[in-house]
């Protein structure tokens, strides 16, 4: 394939290929460089190596089914993608979510945001030769992922946020595990500040490198921590509050210069703010009435028991169907049987429940939003994650488009590295947190 840069390049300069498999390219992205010595004269970024037809696939899946594909977009913070998609559908259906579920969503989003920033800074610091920071950050992320794993059942491919609410309630011991994660992350943040903030090697590779002016950042459509590092205050959580963000206290950290160091600093400060939000959520989350976990019966036993049961007697399901019990539903799921999976007790023990279960999953039935189009966005790890969905009234989206924040960030890389040295690509690329799963879709 002949790239633009190959045609334009000066015959005397050196053409260098960086990527698509390169240790410092997170994922598979190819940067062609035209070099004069070590200075970059021109460059060309080529993406698409991870394109898997997300939007096309979604047009052929039902609204319920395609949730799992949203996990795989930004795979470091899948829960935020889930929230974005699910809330777009809820906006179309005008569905009200219970308060407890809203707090759980905020809690999970903020934990994901911390894990996203930790991963980004870990990789960035490692590439700037600070391997200790990498290990510390990954250690803190493990504590956060422990909470996520205990709640959702998976570390990365969570599919936890569902249309109408969340899949299961929090574990009974969640306050302790979340507090432990918060404590450990605070410790790590303090250590990382100590290791990097005034570190000469780190500063010389990040200060005044990858400079972006506020005007250019807007012209490139930057959002998230990268836009805020240039000093522009735009955060979807504040600008268009969703869930319960308008009731929580948090600040928006801003940078001044818009260089790599500011992007690092904004991410560090944002994690502090996210920890604040997590603590407020812990304090304010409405208590769930009744038991959080059920010690009940396997489906087969439940069916047998239902044949013998007396009127008014409840049947509990086993913990591995957790989250699908009727008792839990009223805390974490919207009160509209058209758009949520019927509780498992009903599906297993009554003919009406079975019918409504079938109706939910049958082709052409299930969730069918009204005709129309909707755009909704949430604040993701690296910017505004927006979903644009066109519905034709059927059970599949007519068109689903994802606004990937990374695309807008990476589009500016050619400008950021022009005239700089080859070594400057690595911290610049690292500080932007390019997630190819989201960019290439």
């Amino acid at each position: 394939m002949t790239a633009r840069i190959q045609k334009q390049a000066n015959p005397e300069s050196l053409l260098l290929n960086m990527g698509p498999s390169h240790p410092a390219m997170h994922g598979a992205v190819r940067i062609m460089l035209e070099l004069d010595g070590e200075r970059i004269l021109n460059s060309e970024v080529e993406v698409g190596y991870l394109h898997r037809g997300f939007e096309k696939t979604c047009e052929n899946r039902t609204y319920f089914n395609l949730l799992i594909y949203t996990d795989r977009l930004n795979y470091v913070s899948p829960l935020i993608n889930n929230v974005g998609y699910v809330m777009t559908i809820e906006k179309m259906l005008s569905l009200q979510v219970p308060e407890r579920a809203q707090y759980i969503r905020v809690l999970m989003s903020e934990l994901s945001r911390i894990s996203d920033h930790l991963t980004c800074l870990a990789a960035m610091a490692m590439e700037c030769a600070a391997f200790t920071v990498f290990l510390y950050n990954i250690k803190a992320r493990e504590f956060i992922w422990d909470v996520i794993e205990a709640t959702t059942g998976a570390r990365m491919t969570t599919s936890y946020i569902r249309i109408g609410g969340v899949r299961a309630d929090l574990r009974p011991d969640y306050p302790e595990s979340v507090q432990k994660a918060v404590l450990e992350t605070r410790k790590v943040l303090k250590d990382v500040h100590g290791l990097l903030d005034k570190n000469k090697i780190f500063l010389s590779r990040t200060r005044d490198i990858g400079l972006m002016t506020p005007e250019d950042a807007i012209a490139y459509g930057w959002t998230g921590p990268c836009l805020r590092s240039t000093g522009i205050c735009y955060d979807v959580r504040k600008a268009h509050p969703y869930l319960v963000y308008d009731r929580l206290n948090f600040d928006i950290p801003l940078g001044e210069r818009g260089d790599n160091y500011d992007r690092y600093m904004v991410r560090m400060e944002e994690m502090e703010q996210s920890l604040r939000i997590v603590e407020q959520c812990l304090a304010r989350i409405p208590k769930s009435p009744g038991r959080v976990m059920a010690d009940g019966l396997e489906p087969a036993e439940a069916i047998r028991a239902s044949r013998l049961k007396k009127p008014g007697q409840a049947i509990r399901l086993s913990p591995n169907l957790e989250g699908a019990e009727k008792d839990v539903y009223k805390n974490i799921m919207a009160d509209d049987p058209r758009f949520i999976i019927p509780p498992k007790e009903e599906a297993y023990t009554s003919i009406e429940g079975l019918i409504s279960h079938f109706k939910f999953f049958m082709k052409g039935h299930g969730i069918r939003p009204p005709k129309g189009e909707v755009y909704f966005s949430v604040e993701g790890g690296n910017g505004e994650v927006g979903y644009y969905i066109v519905s034709d009234g059927s059970d599949k989206p007519y068109r689903l488009h994802l606004r990937a924040p990374c695309l807008h960030l990476l589009a500016s890389l050619e400008d950021l590295i022009k005239g700089r040295l080859v070594a400057d690509i690595i911290p610049t690329f690292g500080s932007m947190n390019i997630i190819l799963g989201e960019l290439d879709r």
Binding site: M1, V47, G48, G372, Y375, R403, L407, L410, D440
Partner: protein
């Protein structure tokens, strides 16, 4: 009240260019005639609106309509804290419109994506190539007639010199 105002003002400023204004789900939408895009967008970028950010650009394919491609732009104003959606319809045989690359830098990649996926052409784009697909790719994958599981021939290995 405020919401209505902006749409009305656009309609008053360009009476012959605006087809329809609406606000489904509270999202303000302006439908324009083809060819009117640059003028309207330049008007919206100035004060007092200052829609300085191009959030998103995409296309929707409606094969059964006469004007098959619907271009959808989402722009955002930091000053007003408000989003606006602009829509244009294009027929298949004349699927081209003005490029926004002189106004927004990220339009470069977004328009390349729309070209890649739908085959819509942008006039004045400096480098209109496919973004995600390879150069030899036949067809435009997000058009409705493109089958979900269609295979493309493998790219032949380049002979080493």
């Amino acid at each position: 009240m405020e919401k209505k105002k902006i749409l009305d003002e656009i309609e008053q400023a360009f009476p012959e260019k605006v087809l329809e204004t609406s606000a489904p789900f509270g999202e303000e939408t302006v439908e324009l005639r083809p060819g009117a895009l640059l003028k309207v967008v330049e008007f919206l970028r100035k004060k007092p609106y200052e829609f300085t950010m191009l959030l998103d650009l995409t296309c929707v394919d409606f094969p059964e309509r006469d004007e098959r491609f619907e271009m959808v732009y989402h722009i955002y104003s930091l000053a007003l804290n408000r989003r606006l959606r602009i829509k244009l319809s294009l027929p298949e045989d004349k699927a081209s419109l003005d490029s926004l690359t002189p106004l927004w830098k990220n339009a470069n990649w977004l328009e390349r994506e729309a070209f890649d996926m739908f085959g819509v052409r942008f006039e004045g784009h400096p480098d209109l190539r496919r973004l995600f697909m390879n150069e030899d790719f036949k067809g435009h994958p997000l058009r409705k007639e493109y089958p979900l599981r269609k295979r493309q021939p493998l790219i032949p290995l380049r002979k080493s010199p």
